[in-house]
Amino acid sequence: MFDLRDLYQQVIVDHNKHPRNFRAMQDATHKAEGFNPLCGDRLTLYLKVGADGRIEDASFEGSGCAISTASASLMTEQLKGRTVDEAERLFGRFHDMVTGAPDAPPADAELGKLAVLGGVREFPSRIKCATLCWHALHAALEGQQSVSTE
């Protein structure tokens, strides 16, 4: 049987309790809100993208379940130093992992710590919790104000 601890791994519990980069950003170049009306999860994602197209800083605030909070915390850690194109590609890899896409490559160095969210694929009703911050990232990079998932 799939154990609950496979979903709620210690890293996730820790990032939920102590989310990293959990703050507003005054000098953000990009910002978008993500909202999941089903469970009320709501977050604001901030990005500072340099002239060279690299993400210099990423942060978020809001309220949500452990999966969405930990996912946003881990995502902001992973984004720093990556180019915008790399960030979008990482979204694709992450999405394939949590939706259990049949041709998804095994977790590798590129996904890094994000691999701890792989257990989400066994919980279909929770996939949108894990991807909410990534949809907000995509919206922010596309210049949209908000994105809603349901």
């Binding site: 049987m1 799939f2 609950l4 601890r5 979903l7 709620y8 519990v13 939920n16 309790k17 089903l38 469970c39 009320g40 999860d41 709501r42 309220s63 949500g64 379940c65 452990a66 999966i67 909070t69 919980f123 009703s125 929770r126 919790c129």
Partner: protein, 417 residues
């Protein structure tokens, strides 16, 4: 309805009538847990009597109603109209003509907002609701407000989750055309003093609509004693099928209302120049209705009458009292909604564990609850929470299932420690 002292339910015998309850969930590898279904406020399970009635209709009697001269159509019509009579008797209405079959409570309220509201509510008029309403008793009135320029007024609730009756009285005025109130709050379990609220509404000349979706299977409903002008309910929260419900309306009010939807069955005569509308209740039932659903609804009411709503209510109150006592002793748990008069619903939050995570964890332990805003976002805003976890009880629930709930909550706390 039975006024004598409630009898104890034979819960095991009742459970045997609900085969869906006898299962283990997430059972891959034989590691599953017995199902503890505590999401009855979302929808109840259906007894065999209801499942069989729907099945038997399709196996033996299926035909359209009110038109055919053949045997099957006559049987289908008799069963469909028989169900209407059962609804009438169940809620104590005077005439079966006052019972309109609809898809459910939401459609019932929309019907009143569209047909009665558009004809009677004018610019500057007011519709009074309360702070604990379900979205289905908010949004139709916002749509009406926006269409005619009326005002939607909200009577606030207090921290216990009760309507502030002083404010409610103060907000009533000759401008109030309609009071729309929930009988039993789906998010908090609060029982509203609807009889008094209706009487106050009538004093200022307003009509009163009661959203009975949550109440009808838990409280004794007598529309004439309440003096409700409209009463809305959903079969699926009363051990009946989904997709069917009823709107009760006082005959003299329904008679004055224009039709809502146009089509077959709601007419008596149609030419390309004009249409004469059918009599009550058919005027409000355009198109082929959910015949099998209505028949299943009737059998659900038979089942409720047989077991006894008062007996079920007493059983649920014992479970709620026990669950409340355990909740108060559980570290970090906050009960949302502590009204003096409550029924069948325990809404709560657990410190450090989001309700959505609780829902997932409890589910893996076999305990089905609802986690979310319960279609009552203004209630969540009032209590300053994004969501709550909600356990809700029915006739077939047991003390052991309440214990399973708290064992699962213990597991959640360990996981998040």
């Amino acid at each position: 309805m039975n006024e004598s002292r409630p009898a104890m339910l034979d819960v095991q015998a009742i459970r045997a009538e609900f085969p869906v309850l006898a299962q283990r969930v997430h059972d891959a590898g034989g590691q599953g847990r017995p199902l503890a279904y505590l999401d009855n406020a979302a929808t109840t399970q259906k007894p065999l009597a209801v499942v069989d009635a729907v099945r038997d209709f399709y196996l033996r009697d299926n035909a359209n109603v009110h038109r055919g001269v053949h045997a099957l159509s006559e049987r289908a019509t008799a069963a469909y109209e028989g169900a209407r009579e059962k609804v009438r008797a169940f809620i104590g209405a005077e005439s079966a003509r006052e019972i309109i079959f609809v898809r459910g409570t939401t459609e019932a309220i929309n019907l009143v907002a569209a047909a009665w509201g558009r004809a009677n509510v004018r610019e500057g008029d007011e519709i009074l609701i309360t702070g604990l309403e379900h979205h289905s008793n908010i949004v139709p009135w916002q749509m009406l407000r926006d269409a005619v320029g009326a005002k939607l007024v909200v009577a606030p609730i207090n921290r216990r989750g009760e309507v502030d009756m002083e404010a409610f009285e103060r907000l009533l005025s000759p401008r109030t055309k309609l009071v729309a109130i929930s009988h039993l709050s789906n998010a908090l379990g609060t029982i509203n003093p609807v009889e008094r609220m209706i009487s106050l509404a009538h004093e200022v000349g307003a009509l009163a609509l009661v959203d009975g979706a949550q109440a009808a299977a838990h409280l004794d409903v007598d529309v004439r004693r309440l003096d409700a002008d409209f009463y809305a309910m959903s079969a699926h929260k009363m051990y009946g099928p989904t997709g069917i419900g009823a709107l009760y309306g006082k005959r003299e009010i329904l008679e004055t209302m224009p039709p809502w939807q146009g089509g077959g069955d709601m007419i008596s005569m149609v030419t390309f120049d004009e249409t004469r509308y059918n009599e009550l209740p058919y005027r409000f039932e355009a198109g082929t209705p959910h015949i099998a659903g209505a028949i299943g609804f009737g059998h659900a009411l038979d089942w409720l009458e047989r077991v006894g709503v008062a007996n079920i209510a007493a059983h649920e109150t014992r479970l709620l009292d026990y669950a409340t006592e355990r909740a108060r002793a559980f570290p970090g748990l906050t009960i949302i909604g502590e009204a003096a008069h409550k029924a069948s619903i325990l809404s709560f939050t657990l410190e450090g564990v989001h309700p959505h995570d609780l829902g997932t964890i409890l589910d893996r332990e076999g305990v089905a609850i609802r986690a979310g805003h319960h279609c009552a976002m203004p209630v969540m805003d009032f209590f300053g929470v994004p969501a709550t976890a909600r356990a809700s009880f029915a006739a077939y629930n047991t003390r052991e299932e309440v214990d399973a709930l708290f064992a699962a909550l213990e597991k959640a706390r360990e996981l998040f420690a």
